[in-house]
Amino acid sequence: MNDRAACDPFDVPSAAHALELSHVVKRYGEITAVNGLDLVVPEGRCVGLLGPNGAGKSTTMRMLTAQTIADEGQITVLGHELPGDSKAARARMGVVPQLDNLDTTLTVEQNLVVFSHLYRVPKAKRKAAIERVLRIANLGQRRDSKVDELSGGMRRRLLIGRSLIHQPQLVLLDEPTVGLDPQVRQELWALIDLLRSEGVSILMSTHYIEEAERLCDSVTIVSHGSAVAVGAPTELVAEHAGRDAVEIYGSPERLVEVEAEMAKEGFPTRRTGTSIAVLGLDDADGRAPAGERRPANLEDVFVLLTGEEIA
C-alpha cells in the first residue's frame, strides 16, 4: 500500500490506471538498464518520464509494447498483464517512436492506410479514420505528398497522427520533439495538448524540461533505471528546490569554492555551466547568499536529483 502511494501522486484506485509498472527490472549482461522502476499513468492523465540519456527511458518504452521483456516485476497496460496479454494492450495503445519509421517512399495517406490495417480499423470506418488523422495532424493539403518530401515537423506530425488512427486510449510518446526547432516543438505541444484535452492517457519520455513542465500533470524523474521523484512539476519544485534559486557567477575556481561554502551551510546546489544555483532557501532567512535571485524550476530539481556528471 505504501509502495502504491509512493508512485501514485493522484491516489487513484489501481483499476483506473492506464498503465502501471511495479518493481520492474531489466538487465543486459552486467548492465542493469531498469532497476526496480515503479511508474503509474492514471486514466486521462499525461505523465512525463524524465531522465538523462541512459536512464532507462527507452528500455521502459520498449517494455510497454513487449519488444523488451522485463526480467522482474509486473507491467499492466490498460488492464492487460504483460508480456502475455501484450497484443490486446497494443490494439488499444498508440506508439510514437523516437526514431522516425514512416514508409518514406509512400504518400502521407498511404502511410495511414497501412496503419489503419495494422491497427484493425474496420473497413467501413477506415476512410473516416484517415480523414480524422489528416485533420488532427493538419496534413490534409499534403495527403498525396511522399514522406520524403515533407519537412521534419510535418513528418513528426504524421508520426503522431499515425499513432491515433485507431483512437487509442493510451499513447506512448518517446522523446516526441527531440532534434526539432522551437517553432516545430510548439506545434507538436499544441497537438499533444489536444490529445490530453480529449481524455487520452499519455506517457511521454523526454529530457526537455520545458516540455514536461508544460504538458505533464505529473512527472516521474528516473535516474540509473529507477524513479527518484514523483509528483506534479510545481510540487516537485517546491519540495526539492524551494521557491527561489540564487545564482552565483564567477570564475571556475570561484564556483568550486561557492559549492563548498554552500555545502557547509547545508544548502543544495547545482551547476548550470556558467554559475552555481543555490537551492532550498525557503527557510534560509538572512543566511541566503548574495546573487541573482530567480524562481526555482524543474530543471533545478532534475539536475539536483539525477546528478551532474554525464554518464
Partner: protein
C-alpha cells in the same frame, strides 16, 4: 469504436487480420517500386535461359531426352523463384530492421513476430509464383510445347518461394551485418543454384553429389516444373512436392525463431 470488437475475444496466434495488415503494407510499398523489381526478377532468368539455351544449345541439341532450350526453360523457372524470393527476403528484412526501423512500428501494433514473418514470406511467395513463370513464357515463345501440367507451375513456385523467402528471413535474422551476406551467397546459394539440374542433368555427376542434390529444395522444384511441362512421374512427384512443403514449414519456424531472437530482447 474499432477496438470494441477486439475486446470481445482474446487475440490469438497467427491471426488473419494481423497477417493481412503486414501483407497490405507490402503490397502498398510494392506499388512504389514494382518496375525495377519486376525487371530484375524476370530479365535475369531470361538472360540465363537465352545464354545457356542458345550458347550450349548450339553444342548439345538434346539433353535427357528433351530439346536443350526446353530443358533450360523449365529449369530456370526454379532459378527465377529462388532469386525473386531469397534475395529480397535477405536484403528487405535487413534493411527494414536496421535502417528503416519498420519492425519497431509493426511490432508496436497488435502484430506478433510470428505474424510478421508469415505475412512477409507469403507476399514474397506470391511474387515469386508470378515471376517464376517468366522463363516458361519465354520458352513457349522459343518453341516449348504448351501442356496442361504447366498450369500447376504457379502453385509449385508458390510453395518453393515460401520456403526460400523464409530461408532469406532466417539468414537476415541470424547474421549480424549485411557484409556477411556474401558468405551465404557464395557458400550456400551458388552451389544450390548450380547443383539442381537446371542447366545440365545431374546424372553425369559423381554419386555423392547426386545424393546431396536430393537434399536441395531447388532440385525438387526443377524436377516438379519439368514434369509439369513434360509429363508427371507419379510418386516421384508426390515426393518432390512433399519435400518442398516440409522445407517450407521447417524454414518458416526457423525464420520465426531467428527473428524473435533479433527483435525481442
Amino acid at each position: 469504436m474499432s477496438t470494441a470488437e477486439l475486446e470481445e475475444r482474446d487475440p490469438g496466434r497467427l491471426e488473419r487480420t494481423a497477417i493481412g495488415g503486414v501483407l497490405v503494407r507490402e503490397i502498398i510499398n510494392f506499388s512504389s517500386y514494382w518496375r525495377s523489381t519486376t525487371f530484375s526478377s524476370t530479365v535475369e532468368p531470361t538472360i540465363y535461359l537465352l545464354a545457356f539455351g542458345f550458347g550450349f544449345g548450339s553444342l548439345v541439341s538434346v539433353v535427357g531426352g528433351y530439346d536443350y532450350i526446353d530443358f533450360v526453360a523449365t529449369g530456370t523457372v526454379a532459378t527465377a523463384v529462388l532469386f525473386s524470393s531469397i534475395f529480397p527476403a535477405m536484403f528487405g528484412t535487413f534493411i527494414k530492421y536496421k535502417f528503416q526501423h519498420t519492425y519497431d512500428a509493426i511490432l508496436a501494433a497488435p502484430v506478433d513476430t510470428e505474424e510478421l514473418v508469415t505475412g512477409e514470406a507469403l507476399w514474397l511467395a506470391m511474387r515469386a509464383s508470378v515471376y517464376g513463370c517468366a522463363p516458361l513464357l519465354v520458352g513457349l515463345v522459343f518453341g516449348l510445347d504448351p501442356s496442361w501440367g504447366m498450369l500447376a507451375v504457379p502453385a509449385i513456385n508458390f510453395v518453393a518461394g515460401y520456403g526460400w523467402a523464409c530461408t532469406g528471413v532466417a539468414i537476415a535474422g541470424w547474421l549480424k551485418g549485411i557484409e556477411n551476406f556474401n558468405y551465404v551467397t557464395s557458400a550456400v546459394i551458388t552451389p544450390l543454384f548450380l547443383v539442381a539440374g537446371t542447366f545440365f542433368p545431374l546424372t553425369g555427376l559423381p554419386g555423392w553429389v547426386q545424393a546431396l542434390a536430393q537434399l536441395n529444395p531447388l532440385f525438387h522444384c526443377v524436377q516438379l516444373v519439368r514434369h509439369a511441362a513434360f509429363g508427371w512421374e507419379g510418386w516421384a512427384d508426390v515426393w518432390n512436392f512433399a519435400f518442398l512443403i516440409i522445407f517450407g514449414l521447417l524454414m518458416w519456424r526457423v525464420a520465426i525463431a531467428a527473428m524473435e531472437r533479433k527483435l525481442i530482447d
